[in-house]
Structure formats: C-alpha cells, structure tokens
Symmetry: D3
Subunit: 227 residues, 6 copies
C-alpha cells in the first residue's frame, strides 16, 4: 500500500502491528530515450510489488536526486547534495517520530549514494533504528543476470528500458560507450554522452526485463524481512 | 504532459517553443479521513487538467511540505522549512538553466507559504523570470463559491473531499470547529484537532465538488497564460 | 518595560513572578513617504503601550525583516529568509532558557510571515511554550475599522501613517493601486510601485489613526493575557 | 541622522552625495547593574554624536550579538555565531546594492569579533568596498585614558557606566576580579562572575566618563572620514 | 613537493608553468591494529612518491573524513558529511582562484565518497577545471593484484598494513569476516567489528605490499598526467 | 604522542587514565619567505614537545584556517569561517564522545580566533568540558620576551622564522611596516603587504628563537595541567 491510498488512521493501525517502511529515492534526470523519471519509476515499481506481497507500506517517492552532471540536459531537475541529504533526513525523522523503525531505502539513482553518509549519522541519533539500502542495479543477483546474458548494465541502456520507463522508440543499434575523462561538468557531460546513454544495447527482449525485475524483487522481498 | 511521460529530447523540443512550467507543491500530512497525500493530489489534478488544455508541462510533484504541527499524526512526513525552501530553489534553478522562464506554482498546502519568500529572493538572481503562485483554496473565485453554498473552507473538511482524495467513508455529521489557542506544537495540535479536520461538514454533493474543481481550474488556465 | 531599561537582576525578579515576553518583529524597508522603520515603530508602540498597562516585558526589537522585493529602494535592509528565521529562533531559545514561556510576537511586516513556520518547529522542541502571533494590520478588528471608514489597508498608505511614522509631508491625492503581475523581483517592484505605496489615500484624520491604534492595542492586551 | 527618521527618498538623496554608513553592532546581555542593552547604547550614542557633526547616516542597530557564556543570566538574548555573521552580511549586502560603499562598524561587544572574519570574506565579493571596524573600548586613546586614571577597563565595570547605561544604583566598593579558568560555559560563568562585572570600580566620576566618551568620539570622527 | 616545504613565491613560480595539484583526502578513524591515520598516510605516501617523479605539488592533507559508524572506537575523529564537503570545496576554490586547474584527489577513505557529489557541483561553477578522483583500493589494477594473490581487500586487513601504517604487532591468524546487517550505528558497529578489521589476514609479506604500492603508484602517475 | 603513531586500542588505554587532548589549529597561508604551513608547524612543534614531557595526546592537525585576506597569494588555502567552525566542532564532539574532556587548543593563526565563539557554544552542550585556548604569539611571556629584545612580533617577520619554518633565504634588511587602511580584501592586501611580511626584521639570532620557543612551551606545559 502506498501512503497516498491511506489516511492517518490507517497508518496508525499499521503501526500497531508493523514498523517497517519502504522509501523510494529517485531522480528526475535525462535517461536518453527513456522517461526522465526512470530512476523513480523502477524502485517505485519494486516497492509496489513488494508491498503487494508483504503489506509493508510505501512512502511517497522523493522525486528528485542529485544529478549536477546532467544539468545541461533539459528535464534534469537536480537538488544540491546538501538539500537531498536534508530532505531524506527530514522524512526519516518524521516517520521515526510516529513509530517507524525499519527503513528499506529503494534507491534508483547512483548520484544519491551520498545519502548513505547522512543515514549513518542519523543512526547515531535515532535509537533502535534499522536501515537497509538497496540500489537495485548494483545487486549481486542483478549483476549475475547481466553476466548470464553477456550484457553490461549502464545508465539509460537496456538495463533501465522497462515497459514502464519507455516513452519513445529506442534505437536498434547498440551504442559505443564513450570515454570518460574523470569527473565532468554539465557542459562536457552533454558533449561526451550525446543522447545520454552510457552505451551498449538500448533494449533487450521483454522476457529478460521481466526476469530482471523479478530478480530485483526477490532482493527486496528478502531485505524487507529485516531478519 | 507530465515530465514522467517524456524524455529529455521531448522537453528540449518543448523549450524551443515554450518556456512555461507548472510546479506542484504539496504535503504529506494528516487530512482526517482523506488521503495523507491530498495536498499533492489536488494541485496535481489541476495541473494535469490545465496541461491537457494548454500543453504546458508539469514537473514531478514535490511530495513533501512543511507540517511540523501535524507530526504526531502518523503519516505526516514534514520537511524542515529550510529544507523545503532549498528544495524548491534547486528545482527552479535547474529548470531555469535549461530555459524555463515562467513558473506557475500550484500549491496545495498552507504551510508551504514561506516558499514565497525564497522565490522573491530567487527573482533577484534569475533574470527575466516570472513566477505566479496559486494556492487554490485561497482564490477569490473559490471563496465566492464557498459563500454561495454557505460553506466554510477548512483543512480536511468538505473543501478537500474530492472523489480522488477520499480513501475511506466520511462522517455524516458536521464537526464543530475547535478553539485554537495561538500556535500549537504537535502534541497539542493532535489533542485539539482530534480526527484532524478543522471542522464543518466532511463532504458535500459531488456536483459541488465538480464546480469547485472547475472554478479553480479556470484560475489556473488564466494564470498559466502569463499575460 | 523594555529590556533596555533593566539590568539582569530586574529581569530575574520579573521571571520569579511572570514568564511572558513581547517580541517586536519588524523590517527596515521602503514605506513611501513614511519612515523606513515604520514596521518596527508600530508594533513597538503597541508593545510599549501594552507593557505600560500590564507590566509585561518587551524584548529589544528585531530591526530587520525579509523584504527582497524592495531591495532596489534605498534604505531597505533585508535579511535572507533563512537568517531571519535563525535570528528569531535564537532569541526565543535564549529567553526560554532563562524561564520565559509565553511569547507574544508583535509583527509589523507581512514578509516576516515565514517566521511562523520556524516557531511551529520550535514548539516541538521547547516544552510548555505558548506562542501567539499578532500581525496587527490583519486583525479582525482592524479590518472592521477599515471597512467602517471605507478604507483599504495597504503597505505605506494611510494605514501606517501614524504621527510617529511620518517623517515628511504626505501627498494630498490618493494613489491608484498598481496592477501586480505575480511575484516581482526588486527591479520590477520599484518600477511598478513607484513611490512605494500600494495605493489609496496617503493619510486620514489623526482621530482615525488614534482609533486604529486603540483597536490594535485592545487585541494586544487580550492576547498578552494568554488565557 | 538615523534611518528611522528618514524615508527612502531621503536616503536616495543622501546616496547621490555620500556613500558612507555607520552600522551599530551590539549585544543584549548581562551587564551587572547596568542596562542589558549597554553594548548597543554606547556605540549608538557615539554614532548619533558623530552623525550630528558629519551628517553620515546611521543604520538601525543590530540589537543582538553573540554571548553564549552569559546565557544563564536572565535578559541575555544571544545569537548563534553563524546567525550573527549572516545577519551582518545581509545588512551590508543590502546597503551595498543601493550604493553604500564605506562602512564604519561601531561595535559594542567583544563577542562580536568573529564578524570581522565574515566582513573579510565579503570584501572579496563586493568591489570598491571599504570597511572600518571600531571596538571603542580597545582603542589606543581609550586605553591611554584608562591608564591616565589608573583604571582597568573591563566588562560591566566603570568603563561602561555612562549616565545612559545606568538603570540602578551601583555598588560603592570596587570588586575583586575573579580568576578565569579558560573558556567557560554559561553555568560556570554565572558562578564565577556573580553579579556579572569583571571587577574593579563600578563607576567613576561623571567627568571622567564624559572625557571617555569624547575620546572615543574623536576616534569615530577620524575613522568616518575614510581618508 | 609538499606545500609545507614551500613559500608562496615558490608556488607562484610553479603556477607559471603548471596548474596541477594533488589533494590528499583521508580520515582519522579506527583501523584495528594499524594507525588511526592510515587513511591519510597511504594516499600521502602515494602523493609524495608521485610528486618526486613528476614535480606536481601536494596540498596539505585533509586529516579528517566522514566515519560516523566508527565513532565508538576511541581515536575516530569524524566530520559531519556537510562539513567535509564544505572543507573540500573551500580548498579547491582557494587553489582555483590562484590558478590551479587540474586536481587529482587522492582519497584514502571509502566514507569520503560523497565528496564527489560536491565536486560535480563545483565543476559547474569553476570553468576549465579538471578533476580526477582516485580511491586507490578500488582501482582495477589493485583488485587484480589482490586476485592474483587470492586476497580480499578490506578495511584494516592486510590491504592497509604497510610498513608505514603499522604501529603495533599484528595477529597471526586471519579473522573471519563478520556478518553486516545493513547500515549500522556506531554502537552496533563496534560490537560487530570487534577489533575493527573487516576480516581476512591482518598482513601479508612485505614484498606483496611493495608490489601493491607500486601498482597504485602507477595509477597515480598515469592520472596525474591529465591527458 | 601523536594520534598517527597509535591505534584505537592505544587511545582507549590512554583514556582509561587521562582525558586531555591537545588540538593543533593552523592555517595554510602566505608567510612571506617562510613555509605556507608555518601556522601549523609552530603549534605542532609546541604540542609535540609538550607531549614528550607530559604524555598528553596530540590530535592530527587541522591544516586549514580562515585567511580570506590572503587569497591572492598563491598557496593560501582558506576555509570559509563557517566551515572552520564546523570542522572544529566536529573534531571536539567526536573526541568528547569517546571520553576526552579537557581540550588545549594550540592555535597558530590569528584569523582562527572566531573559533572561540563556537567553543563557547559547545561548552553549553558538552557537560564537564574544559577548554583552554592558546595563541602562542599573544602570550604575556612571549610579548615580554619580544620587549626584552626590543622586537615587534608580527605576521611572517622574525617572530615566526624558526629553523623549522624557514624554506628559503631571508632578506637581511628589516621591512618598514605598511600602513593598514581598515579591513582589506585579498587584492588590496596583496598590494599593501607586498612580500607578505607585516614588517620588521625577517629574522633574529637562532638563540633568541630557541628562547622564544622555550617560553611558549612553558605556557603550554602550564596550561595542559588544567589545574
């Protein structure tokens, strides 16, 4: 269940029996031919599926992440890293105050990784808290699946081309990954990445994507147990 | 069109012809028997309808606002006021960098009003920007409609009980508005507000709600012209 | 009594019997022909009068508020909204530490409204605190008085033209209120507002101003009871 | 002239001929038997006198400074050092925007010294600015005068006991200065300092105070020339 | 050459011919039996060696990093993540102002990774900047070397047991890596990690460590070319 | 002993018997012909010597201070004052958590003085803490020694020309101190100070420097007793 389908009394009832919360962390940024909200849509879909099976609540998505390097691509709405950390802290602290204690962060965007630093700091202040962090594309099982099909997972390539993130036709030809000369500012990044994909095939068979989703979902179902 | 249904190339094409953006500001907070995301859902619905008629883009919703006084109601996820202002600033600055110049802020939550102060500050830094702020329930035409039906608009009463914000049955009897002794902390607010509504009837006829929505939508359609 | 006429021992004695404090919030900003400190002078005068009758202490005025939109008028010294909120927090926390518990904020400037957000946050941290906020020109009784005389209260018009805020002759002719095209930056605001008044008559008979002051003072006297 | 006696047109006229501003920095803190606003009153009196002779404008006083060590004395309203620096920055930036270029900071409180660090930072951003800082009690000429009368200048002793800072009778007997064991927190400071004076005679002859004031005033008159 | 062996004229001469700077980022935190400054000592040694061969300057080490999870181990002096990011920004901005344009960040501590987010932000403000980030233990060539010897690199195990980080005898027996239940607060981390090593052998033959150092040094020498 | 020569177990043992810590605060800034790290090297040398005699631990040096006025001299790496205060706070809080209670701050740089403001604030939060602040060049005994030899202590003159801060030949002729016109920005400071020394002889006999060092060391040895 998502927060949006509940009122506070529903959530109070839930808290009488459970103290787990799934938090969806994403980004609004260029994803080549895919939706600019791909990094929200994927962990949101995982959260919804896991919630269906477990009943664990899903907080409203944090729709913005840290993507300073993509700011010259229209549609990239990026938070300063300090803002992002404060936002996550405030959401966790609010939920903690009301009794939530176990937080599964479902993260869809690599640039949000610094949030972990703030979460570690928070854990020194919020007693009895457990926090698990899941960046689905870095999961062991996801990487194994990629290897099985001899595919390289990368930003805005096949890896993120789910039925629900596709908003346009995708190129048939795979893209040669560009060379990356260290950290890049937004102007250089746009030049280097062109259409925005980091290279490789733009899509694979739908059946592989379904397997990919199920694989990640298994991870989420395991993590949300908090045992 | 919402950002989520577009990729960056779509948005780039849009910017070649238009520089307007609708930004949905809301809150995740107790709304008595209504969805805790009511303050997002209402301006989002207005934005979607206005976008349908005008083609003006809608940025992803800022799902969290400032609601410190409701923090003792489960499901209220509140940002510190400083975080909220930073978040809005970052979103506006990102869009400005890419060519957006006219921002219509569709605000669903009274506690977000301080955001205006930061927007004024921003306007001194971002040249050629126009910003309009619309808190739908404070609109002249909405207040007139309320008077016409002899209804008092208030937090979580009939005013916000749209078909799409209702997630449970609503009490038949109107509620007597509680006495408010100045500013209240979260504990006192919960005691004073009880179920969370500020009083009055919990709902009215659907036809009135449709008129209400249309009234607010007319405002939005007028404001989004920026003339 | 004002703080400036007391030493710490006097204040300690006061705290043995009372825990109320009046805090004057203002602004240093253009007020057309009136003093740039009008927004301090008015609530200060109310505080002094109320103190005379009740003995409740008055803290030193916070002489600066948030007025980014008036920064192109010389004499407008505006704090960033973040600075203003921090300043008010620090003053309240200091007084709280020493035993003050009931704070009546006498606010003279509309741009300071976001301070309320920080006060709500503070109330979740400072136990047993009561805070009342009074923006005199928005008071019910003040609005009624304006209606009685068929006058519209606005920035730097008759409403603020007290004997003690006048520092120059005032125009005889009323001003036509300008059209306001949404939020404005400082440059546009100066162009739109010209001499700085928001329109209407620049002054009314002294006897009306005295009635106005008494009306607001009655509000203050009632609020400062904290019952 | 003080800002409070002027409207923005007056200040605009002034700026057509002059770009100097005196800024009064003070504190609201225990001063033993003297006014808790002594640190504002003294530099304000110097500013007013200097303004009378030179016509240089005086901004509204910053009534609060940094006094964390005195927070256990009632009436000490202390800003966090970060707030204080932000406040001064905002005031200077506002005035700079309108054409002020030469700032004479008249400081009444030793704890405000860190403000100088922010002023140095500002000077790297605000072109053609000149800033002079005057802490009157540290002035060469004031120290010479003290030596002439074999007096030690200290917090809340004779040094600050002007006619206009006295709000109560002062002890006849001089106080033995307490031993200071390094930096102190507020609780320890109250224990160590007792009545709040740092020791020595509580007052001297009025004629000495007048000489003292004139001495400091000569410094101000020289500094405000900015030559 | 290190900054400490130079005066400003030396650095000015250097800048006339070169604009590269090596910046050592570390941590002061528990490293089991190794020096609490191991994370500084290793990148510092790499920087010194690379400087010897290339003449590229080395800035003074940033001796503190972000290690909130180790705060219950004595000797762990950890910066809030916000402080760390500000510190790195200030150092880079200072050097940039003086003409440095190519920054090789030699990072010794995994917890400092969020610094990259701030660096990306900076690159959008500092024109013509190039920044390379090197976390030596994550380097491809270092991981290959580890695999060659069938060793797992981990915090405070053989990987960091250089001659110059050893300050005590090391246990002969390898340690079984503990199970990590998601993110941990400081108290839990101390319980789980015991002596602080993440497991595996505490040391290997000196000849392997020399090969390891040389391997990392080759990376640094290649990166510092900025070609 | 320095932290760098110890592991956490060593520090834990120390804490079982002692709770004192020496913290070296410095700067990386122009010092004319001397090392840009002079302000670190001097207090570090004092700390090391004092540690040798007393066994009190020495934390890793904070290599950067606040020097905005010297930013146009290459090699000056200056922290914003806000960053510096946060850094010191974090270091003290970390050590406090582990049991350190008595902090002797050995400061090498005048621009770091605002740190004292934050330390006072901290003392109101960290119970049973004692903090002593030592800026060696302002010490009574150091000033007496200077007077004995008829020398004026100043930035980057003889005062700081120890054997271990000298990295180049020093001019034979003394320098005439420049006139200082109030606070200066970086550009003006470079023009006014030329080679960076504040004037007077660039060096004195080694034997005087040794006496100077011993004099300051006696201060440190007395302060570190905390009696």
């Amino acid at each position: 269940m998502r927060f949006e389908d509940l009122n506070w009394m529903d959530i109070e009832k839930y808290l009488a029996q459970d103290d787990r919360l799934m938090v969806v962390l994403g980004a609004c940024e260029q994803h080549a031919y895919l939706s600019v909200l791909s990094d929200v849509k994927i962990p949101q879909a995982l959260a919804d599926s896991a919630s269906l099976q477990t009943g664990v609540l899903v907080a409203p998505a944090l729709n913005f992440g840290s993507s300073p390097y993509f700011l010259d691509y229209p549609g990239t709405l990026s938070l300063r890293i300090s803002t992002l950390l404060d936002m996550v802290e405030d959401v966790i602290r609010s939920a903690y105050r009301q009794g939530f204690r176990k937080f599964l962060i479902l993260n869809g965007h690599g640039g949000n990784d610094p949030v972990r630093a703030r979460l570690y700091e928070l854990m020194n202040h919020l007693e009895d808290t457990r926090i698990a962090w899941y960046s689905w594309w870095l999961s062991h099982s996801v990487l194994e699946l990629a290897q099985k099909y001899d595919l390289k997972p990368s930003h805005a390539n096949w890896l993120e081309a789910f039925a629900f993130t596709r908003v346009a036709d995708l190129p048939q030809e795979a893209k040669t990954p560009p060379n990356i000369p260290g950290l890049m500012g937004a102007a250089e990044a746009r030049q280097v990445y062109g259409d925005g994909s980091f290279g490789g095939p733009y899509f694979v068979q739908e059946i592989v994507m379904e397997e990919l989703f199920k694989t990640a979902l298994q991870d989420v179902l395991r993590l949300v147990k908090f045992d």
